[in-house]
């Protein structure tokens, strides 16, 4: 945890410096009769840089290493698989469409995470995709991504 705090503090400090610099460079500090669009970003960046420095100093003073927080082994693998499949789901949303994309996504993840029998996995995927279609497309009339396979 200590090392994570140090890294976060340095990143946040860099971010806040860039934030302040960007605000002052591109936006006006004072507008017609009142504070301009750079005013609050400047102060927020300043406060954030102080907070980040505070956390850096505190973690440097801290003698305890703290608990390890990095994920390892099976936990890390499962987390990355969920994240990866989700990113792919979103990336291909405009190709597969929401309903078919949902079904494919569930087929892959439910099977991977739970090792449920195939009939159950397929049933869950179809039921969820159907529910999604019924509520959002049919009832609420949300124009979902249609995809290139099946348009409706």
């Amino acid at each position: 945890m200590r090392s994570a705090d140090r890294v976060t503090a340095v990143l946040l400090f860099a971010l806040s410096v860039a934030f302040v610099a960007g605000a002052l460079k591109y936006y006006s500090w004072w507008g017609s009769g009142g504070p301009g669009s750079a005013f609050l970003p400047f102060w927020l960046g300043l406060v954030m840089s102080c907070l980040a420095l505070g956390m850096l100093v505190r973690s440097l003073k801290d003698p305890n290493l703290g608990a390890s927080w990095l994920p390892r082994g099976e936990g890390l693998r499962d987390m990355l698989v969920v994240l990866g499949v989700t990113i792919a789901f979103v990336a291909f949303l405009n190709v597969t469409g929401m309903v078919i994309g949902t079904a494919i996504y569930l087929l892959i993840l439910v099977r991977y995470l739970g090792r449920h029998p195939w009939w159950m996995t397929v049933a869950i995927a179809l039921a969820a995709a159907g529910f999604n279609w019924l509520v959002f497309v049919h009832w609420l009339r949300v124009p979902m991504p249609e995809g290139i396979i099946w348009t409706f």
């Binding site: 945890m1 936006y27 609050l40 499962d78």
Partner: protein, 487 residues
């Protein structure tokens, strides 16, 4: 007169439909009250305005409760006013007490909602006149207080609470500046010009972030539940423990809800903070304290009712949801403002009467369906988790029918995962993101009218009181940290 309007079969049907859809929408992460009301608004255009607003108002009440269900059962607030319910509600569910948590929330909501309607009827002219005297300094001071109370909530580490909050405010700076027209921090991306919507951020932080965290822990936070209806009802001990929390939550929720800009979310946060402050055993909060559910849940329902006061009497929305309803009123050809009570009495009193009915319906329907919702949690994590992600994606998408928001949701899912692991406060970030643009505008307007710079905040009695309270809220964790170090 109002009940005559509200009790027609068609309007009762609309109220039932509103409550049912509201619970469902509130329970779905990402489809909160504002998007629910926005999506259903076009459906009501074919109706009589009174039936339309009855349905929307019932829906609003329903979402307040629906959001609680997911907050308690899967630690994912369906809407922002239930964020704080996660803290203790989910812990109760982990301990196998999901039933009483939902039960006390339903009872608290019913009491708060009913008392809220009575207050709405009796004191709305007085409160409205008071809120009318609010200028930008008062508005800013109120929001400052709302934001600093978050730091009191932010867990063990106030420093990380502040960092989460300021980060949220920085995100709120992105997008068009209303006063100058500058497109701030947009990097030339059109979607960034509109700013960062809080909904995809909230869905990412709470929904996807939790799923990623859960995937790594192998569902270690699986909920134990009891299915018997008997266990769903809070025990007498639960009730006597929570009754004052409900009373305080109702009073505070109504007061906060009436103020423009501070809706149910702020009310729920403040109620939680007050309960924690007043408690004899504050260390129990965050570990399944029933008062931590009863207080905020009563407060957010009272605030949702109270938000109607400025909307109806002044034409100023008290929350995002009432802002959309206000747009609806105008589309129906009604003019919100003091004249509404005189010109369209059947509309106003029909709406008020339907709020009583909606509260009764809510209590009945939610109590009946609690066992059903509790059963839903028995679904194994390996099935529930992907389903939550599907809801997150659908919810983020349906906000603006835009894949960009889904991408935003993904990014903040990863951010939420790290925040949870490293002890930051996603709730503080989300509240800051919601209040940020409003607070900035109020601050700048206050400075424009001020001769004394920032000290205008201390020169008017109401804003001075609120600002001092906010400073006290900042000082408390600092003093506490110094005291611990001195020992």
């Amino acid at each position: 007169m109002g009940f005559g309007v509200a009790l027609t079969p068609f309007n009762i049907m609309m109220a039932i439909a509103g409550v049912m859809i509201g619970i469902l929408i509130g329970a779905l992460p990402g489809v909160g009250p504002p998007s629910g009301v926005a999506m259903l608004l076009p459906l009501t255009f074919g109706m009589d305005p009174t039936s339309g607003i009855i349905m929307l108002a019932a829906l609003y009440a329903g979402t307040m409760y629906g959001g609680t269900i997911t907050a308690v059962l899967i630690n994912t607030p369906g809407e922002s006013a239930s964020v704080v319910t996660c803290l203790d509600g989910y812990q109760m569910a982990v301990q196998g007490r999901a039933g009483p948590a939902l039960g006390i929330a339903a009872i608290g909501s019913f009491i708060a909602g009913t008392i809220g309607v009575v207050l709405l009827m009796l004191v709305s002219p007085l409160l409205a006149r008071w809120a009318l005297s609010f200028g930008p300094p008062e508005t800013f001071a109120l929001m400052l207080l709302g934001l600093t109370t978050v730091t009191l909530l932010a867990g063990d580490d106030p420093l990380k609470g502040y960092i989460s909050m300021v980060f949220g405010l920085m995100l709120a700076m992105v997008g068009f500046d209303i006063i100058s027209g500058d497109a701030r921090f947009g990097f030339g991306i059109p979607e960034m010009m509109d700013g960062i919507d809080f909904l995809p951020v909230a869905i990412g932080l709470f929904g996807l972030g939790e799923v990623l965290y859960g995937a790594e822990q192998k569902g270690a936070t699986q909920v134990k539940t009891s299915l018997k209806l008997r266990d769903v009802l809070p025990s007498l001990a639960d009730w006597s423990r929570s009754k004052w929390a409900i009373a305080r939550g109702t009073a505070m929720g109504f007061l906060v809800g009436v103020l423009p800009g501070a809706g149910p979310t702020v009310a729920a946060f403040m109620a939680y903070t007050v309960e924690k402050r007043l408690a004899k055993e504050p260390e129990k909060f965050g570990k399944g304290e029933i008062k931590g559910v009863a207080g905020p849940e009563s407060a957010n329902n009272a605030a949702a009712t109270a938000a109607m006061v400025p909307m109806l009497t002044l034409g100023i929305p008290g929350s995002a949801t009432t802002a959309i309803m206000l747009g609806g009123l105008m589309m129906w050809g009604l003019r919100p403002g003091p004249m509404l009570f005189e010109k369209n009495p059947q509309f106003v009193w029909g709406l008020i009467a339907s709020q009583y009915i909606a509260n009764v319906l809510l209590l009945i329907l939610s109590t009946l369906f609690i066992p059903l919702f509790v059963r839903a949690v028995r679904i194994p994590y390996s099935i529930l988790m992907p389903l939550i992600v599907v809801f997150c994606v659908t919810g983020a998408y349906s906000l603006k029918n835009n894949v960009w928001d889904v991408g935003m949701m993904l990014v903040f899912g990863v951010v939420g995962y790290f925040m949870k692991k490293l002890g930051y406060s996603p709730a503080a970030l989300v509240l800051a993101l919601v209040l940020g643009p409003l607070a900035e505008r109020a601050l700048r307007q206050a400075l424009i009218i001020s001769d004394a710079g920032i000290f205008i905040l201390f020169m008017r009695p109401i804003s001075a009181t609120l600002t001092v309270l906010a400073l006290v809220a900042i000082a408390v964790p600092v003093f506490r940290a110094m005291k611990t170090r001195a020992r």
